[in-house]
């Protein structure tokens, strides 16, 4: 499969001397759902800025579907849509006009633009708001409007810079469903997010940024496999105390309160084995959940190391 984004030896030093990117190499395959993760100031937004041509690279190569953004920016721009981190449409324009105007910037015929504007606004639940001034929208609606705007020219690559920041959980889930549908339709998606759960749920591959460099670039699965242990919390049907685990195969379980305890699961250990041990000592489990998001755990362990 061809590369949607291909980056070699990318450096960016701002006028104030800050080195935002220090030799980034990255390949994102077509139709991938790819996450860019890292702490604030790690260089993710600078990278997106360079791809979108809003930031000029100091050195290196960036191409989108084989077209260099430095030497063939106009051709490259036809293939991607950007959903920026901050709301950047005119607050005085009507919702439909924001999308229609963007369609016009890509040279879409008015009838095509109108049809797509309606389709994407309906899909993102904004059609009823089409005649409202965009400043009247809620935060979540503004984010969805930016997604509709980025999709109106039907790009092969959609880049989202923290698209669900400040969006409530219901809406976030519905946006995830929408993005997954778009991805299934063949659109490559690159996502930066602070919600690690979001990256884990949506993305197949991931690059972790730190201090202007990519420190990990792998599949989500292999990254999570690197976790040394995972902690699960069990809620029990009946009251329990510390003595129940003594002498059993799960003696390392820790009581949290009268109706819950937690157990660390090492790589290779199976959750079903734990259930077998629990049934042996007559503990009925009502509910089980992961203590922390696994990716978050990975992040925290890395932070401890650094």
């Amino acid at each position: 499969m061809a590369s949607a984004i291909s980056i070699q030896e990318l450096h960016k030093t701002y006028a104030n001397g800050h080195q935002a990117l220090r030799g980034v190499d990255l390949e994102v395959q077509e139709q991938d759902f790819f996450a860019l993760l890292g702490p604030n100031g790690a260089g993710k937004s600078t990278l997106i800025g360079i791809i979108s041509t809003l930031v000029r690279q100091t050195s290196g190569n960036v191409s989108v579907f084989g077209k260099s953004v430095a030497t063939h920016p106009y051709e490259a721009k036809l293939d991607f849509g950007i959903v920026p981190q901050e709301v950047n449409f005119s607050p005085f324009e009507k919702v439909a006009d924001v999308v229609m105007t963007q369609a016009g910037y890509y040279g879409l015929h008015r009838s095509v633009a109108r049809e797509r504007t309606e389709r994407y606004l309906r899909q993102l639940g904004l059609w009823d708001k089409r005649d409202n001034r965009s400043r009247m929208l809620s935060g979540g609606m503004k984010r969805r409007l930016m997604i509709a705007r980025a999709l109106v020219h039907e790009p092969r690559l959609l880049i989202l810079d923290e698209p669900t920041a400040g969006v409530d959980i219901d809406l976030r889930r519905s946006m995830w469903d929408f993005l997954q549908e778009i991805n299934k339709g063949g659109t490559t998606i690159v996502l930066t997010t602070h919600y690690l759960e979001e990256a884990e749920s949506l993305c197949r591959n991931i690059a972790i940024f730190d201090d202007g460099r990519i420190t990990e670039c792998t599949s989500m699965k292999s990254l999570l496999n690197k976790l040394e242990l995972q902690t699960f919390i069990f809620d029990t049907q009946y009251e329990i105390d510390m003595h129940v685990f003594r002498g059993s195969d799960i003696g390392h379980a820790r009581i949290l309160d009268t109706h819950s305890f937690e157990i660390d699961l090492k790589p290779g250990e199976d959750l079903s084995q734990i259930f077998t041990h629990l049934s042996r000592i007559n503990i009925l489990v009502k509910n089980v959940r992961s203590k922390t998001n696994r990716l978050e755990q990975f992040f925290l362990s890395r932070a401890k190391i650094s």
């Binding site: 006028a15 809003l54 963007q102 016009g104 890509y106 040279g107």
Partner: protein
Amino acid sequence: MSSRQKYVAFETILAKEVRRFTRIWVQTLVPPAITIGLYFLIFGNLIGARIGDMGGHSYIEFIVPGLIMMAVIQNSYANVVSSFFSQKFQRSIEELLVSPIPNYVILCGFVAGGVVRGLAVGAIVLLVSFTFTDFYIHDLTITVLIIFLTAVIFSLAGFINALFANSFDDISIVPTFVLTPLIYLGGVFYSVDLLPDAGRLVSSLNPIFYMVNAFRFGILGTSDANIYWSIVMLFTFSALLSTSCIMLLRRGTGLRH
């Protein structure tokens, strides 16, 4: 992008610009009509009656071309500088910058918006002037050419100002400290024949002097400046400013980091 797509993009920018200034018509179209109406009333009717003829015309006729030109200059400049800088400030300019529109189409769109507002205000001022005096247009071709080129030049100048501006203060400095003095000293209210030699020399260095006088020639048939030299100068300024704007856009001045 094909030529057809570029035209659609141009049309989109222009439509957005026109939508913007017509949406706030109370701020953009009404004030010039009131201000210029007061100029006609006070300088034309009340004071002008005591001044007598100037350049072979009644004083109120004499100031009509200059006042129209003043409105066109101020409004074409203000439209581009305020619209472009506001979009920079709100970051909505990024919509344009990430799209595949060539720089010259972006420039043409904003300049066309400035020209449309400049000419719309010019037409309003012309209508207001008819309530104070009657006159015939001496040379329609020269009149249209001069007013169009003037609107283009000041739209381009507003665009450059907006590119360099970092705050709203920066977009009011040039109109206040550069444009207004040049307009008032550009022969809007007087003929340079009234000035001493030094004053005439200073006026000859003011580009707006040539614009006002070329436009006055188009409307009244009289001018303190050579009409052909004025037209050449207007084309030269248009070309220089257009080239500067394209170079600044290519370098990403004020837009790309």
